[in-house]
C-alpha cells in the first residue's frame, strides 16, 4: 500500500465514521460538527483526485460559510433530546423500508457495474505544468456558460427574495439612521447646567448632626 492509498483510506474512514455520527448523535450541535468533519474528509479525498479547486471551494463555501451559519442557528436552539427520541420503535419499520429502498436505488444507479476500468477508463496522465484551475475556468465559461449563468441568476433571485421577505411591511424593525447619528451635535444630547458647588448655609440654623458618629 502506497502512502497515497493510506491517506485515501484514512480520509474515507473519517468521512464514513463522521457521516454515521451525524445521524446517530443526540446533540444537534455535535451532529452539525460531525457534518463539518465529513465535508473536510471529503475535501481530502477530492484533493487526492487532483481536484484541488473543488476541494478548497468545498472547505471554503460549505465548511467555512454554510455550516458556520448552520451551527449558528443550531447553537441557539434548545432542542429537547427526549422528545426527539420518541416514536423510535413506531417509525422503525418505515425507516428500515425507506433505507432499503434508497440503498437499492443507489446500488442500481452507481453500483459496481458502472465502475471499473472497462466502463471508466483511467484519464490520461497530466502534462507537466497542468493547471486544474485554468482548465475548469475554460470549461465553465465556454461549454457550460449557460448553466453557469442560469444558476447564478437563480441564486440572485433567492437573495432578492430573502431580502424582500425580511423587509416587507409592516416594518417592526428599529433602524439607526446613520446620517442623523453623524450629524448630531453636542447640544442635542448633553446640556450643561450651572450648579453652585457651595451651598449657602444659614448660620442661624442649628447645625445638622450628620458629622457626628452615631
Amino acid at each position: 500500500m502506497t502512502i497515497l492509498q493510506m491517506i485515501f483510506y484514512l480520509f474515507s474512514a473519517v468521512a464514513i465514521a463522521s457521516a454515521l455520527f451525524v445521524v446517530a448523535s443526540n446533540n444537534p450541535v455535535r451532529g452539525a460538527l460531525s457534518l463539518v468533519l465529513t465535508f473536510f474528509a471529503m475535501a481530502g479525498v477530492w484533493l487526492l483526485l487532483h481536484a484541488e479547486f473543488l476541494a478548497l471551494i468545498l472547505v471554503l463555501v460549505y465548511v467555512g460559510a454554510v455550516m458556520t451559519l448552520f451551527l449558528f442557528v443550531v447553537m441557539m436552539l434548545r432542542v429537547n433530546v427526549l422528545s426527539a427520541r420518541e416514536g423510535f420503535v413506531r417509525y422503525l419499520p418505515f425507516a428500515v423500508l425507506l433505507a432499503l429502498i434508497i440503498i437499492g436505488l443507489t446500488i442500481i444507479a452507481v453500483g459496481p457495474k458502472q465502475f471499473g476500468l472497462t466502463s471508466m477508463p483511467a484519464p490520461a496522465a497530466e502534462v507537466a505544468g497542468y493547471n486544474n484551475l485554468a482548465d475548469l475556468g475554460m470549461v465553465l465559461y465556454t461549454q457550460y456558460a449557460y448553466p453557469f449563468e442560469i444558476s447564478a441568476v437563480l441564486l440572485l433571485t433567492a437573495i432578492v427574495a430573502a431580502i424582500s421577505l425580511t423587509h416587507r411591511l409592516p416594518t417592526r424593525r428599529k433602524n439607526q439612521i446613520v446620517s442623523k447619528q453623524i450629524a448630531v451635535k453636542r447640544a442635542d444630547r448633553v446640556k450643561l447646567i450651572a450648579m453652585p458647588s457651595v451651598k449657602k448655609i444659614n448660620l442661624s440654623d442649628k447645625p445638622s448632626e450628620a458629622g457626628e458618629p452615631s
Binding site: 478548497l56 471554503l60 467555512g64 458556520t68 493547471n131
Partner: protein, 340 residues
C-alpha cells in the same frame, strides 16, 4: 527510502517554520506591551532580563504551570479541541507563503484559495470554544466573533479576487513575480482600494482592536475564551498572534511585492542592495504591518458592533465590487504600466 527522506526533509522545514513563528509570537506580545506603553508614556515590562527581554519566556512558563480548569457543565472533548483548531488553522496556512524565490513549503496552484479556506476554518475554533464552555459570556463572544468573521471574509475574498485577476493566477509565487519592477509596480497602487479593504478586513478577521468586540472586556469579560485557563488559553493566545503575523505576511505578499526588493529598477540602489536576501525584504514589510496592528490598538477606540457590521457590508463590500470591475477592465485592455 527516497520517499521517507523527502518526508523527513519536509517535516524539518515545517518544524523550522513553526519554531520561528512561535518565537516571534512570543516576542510580538512583548513588543505589543512595549510599543503601547511608549505610546501611552509608560515604560512597560522592564524587570525580567536586560530591558525586560526575558518577559515573554517568563509568561510562557507561568501559563504552562497554571492549572487547566474544565468547567463542570462544559463539553469536555470540544472544549479541548477548540483551541487546537484555532492554532492548527493559523499554523497550516503558512505552508503556502513564499519566503523567497524558491523558499516555499508547498508551491501549490490554488495557494490563495488554500489560505482563504483555512482562515474560514479558524472560525470553528472560536464557535466551538464558545459553545463548549457552556457560559453566557463565552457564547456571546463566540457569536459576535463568528458573525464578524463571516461578514469580513466576504470583502476579504473579493479583495483577493482583484489580486487574482491582476496576477492571472492563484499561486503566490506567480503573484509576487507579477509585481516585479519596483515599488510602483506593486499591487498596493493599482489595487489601492482593495489593499485598504483587505487591510481593514484582516484586522477584523483576527478580532483585533478596534474590531475586538468579541473579547470586549467591558461587556463580555473576555469573550469566547472566558472559561479557558493555563495552557489551553495560551493556545488561543498563540493562534491570535499567529493569525496577525499571517495577515501581515499576506498583505506583504499580495500588495507589497512579497520578497521583491523595493529598489528594483532604481539605477544606483538596485546593485547596492542586491546582496540582501528576499526574506529580509519580506520581513521588513511584514514587520511594518505588524507594527500597524499595535499602533491601531493604541490609537483607535473600539467600534460599536452595528458600526462594524455596517462597515463590512455597506462600505467595504461595494468598494471591492466596484474595483473588481475596474481591475477587470484594466486587465482586459492591458492598461499600462501594470497590466501589460
Amino acid at each position: 527510502m527516497e520517499g521517507l527522506l523527502l518526508v523527513g526533509w519536509i517535516v524539518v522545514k515545517i518544524i523550522a517554520i513553526i519554531l520561528v513563528l512561535l518565537l516571534s509570537v512570543a516576542y510580538i506580545t512583548f513588543l505589543e506591551r512595549k510599543v503601547i506603553s511608549y505610546m501611552q508614556c509608560r515604560i512597560g515590562p522592564n524587570r525580567i532580563g536586560p530591558l525586560g527581554l526575558l518577559q515573554p519566556i517568563a509568561d510562557v512558563i507561568k501559563l504552562l504551570n497554571k492549572e487547566i480548569i474544565f468547567p463542570e457543565a462544559s463539553n469536555r472533548y470540544l472544549f479541548v479541541i477548540a483551541p487546537i483548531i484555532s492554532l492548527g488553522t493559523a499554523l497550516a496556512a503558512w505552508a503556502v507563503i513564499p519566503f523567497d524565490k524558491t523558499a516555499v513549503l508547498a508551491d501549490i496552484n490554488a495557494g490563495v484559495l488554500f489560505v482563504l479556506a483555512l482562515s474560514s476554518l479558524g472560525v470553528y475554533g472560536i464557535l466551538i470554544a464558545g459553545w463548549a464552555s457552556n457560559s453566557k459570556y463565552a457564547m456571546f463572544g463566540a457569536l459576535r466573533a463568528a458573525a464578524q468573521s463571516i461578514s469580513y471574509e466576504i470583502s476579504m475574498g473579493f479583495a483577493l479576487v482583484g489580486v487574482m485577476m491582476a496576477a492571472g493566477s492563484l499561486n503566490f509565487q506567480t503573484i509576487v513575480q507579477a509585481q516585479a519592477g519596483g515599488i510602483w509596480h506593486w499591487y498596493w497602487l493599482p489595487l489601492f482600494p482593495l489593499f485598504i479593504v483587505y487591510w481593514i478586513s484582516g484586522i477584523a478577521e483576527t478580532n483585533r482592536a478596534p474590531f475586538d468586540v468579541a473579547e470586549g472586556e467591558s461587556e463580555l469579560v473576555a469573550g469566547f475564551h472566558v472559561e479557558y485557563s493555563g495552557a489551553v488559553f495560551a493556545l488561543f493566545f498563540l493562534a491570535e498572534y499567529a493569525n496577525m503575523v499571517l495577515i501581515s505576511a499576506l498583505l506583504a505578499v499580495m500588495f507589497m511585492g512579497g520578497w521583491l526588493s523595493p529598489f528594483q529598477g532604481v539605477p544606483y540602489f538596485e546593485s547596492l542592495f542586491a546582496f540582501v536576501p528576499g526574506f529580509v525584504w519580506l520581513l521588513i514589510k511584514l514587520s511594518f504591518f505588524l507594527f500597524c496592528y499595535l499602533w491601531f490598538r493604541a490609537t483607535f477606540p473600539r467600534y460599536r458592533y452595528d458600526q462594524i457590521m455596517r462597515l463590512g457590508w455597506k462600505v467595504l463590500l461595494p468598494v471591492t465590487i466596484v474595483w473588481i470591475v475596474v481591475v477587470a477592465l484594466a486587465v482586459q485592455f492591458k492598461m499600462g504600466p501594470w497590466f501589460v
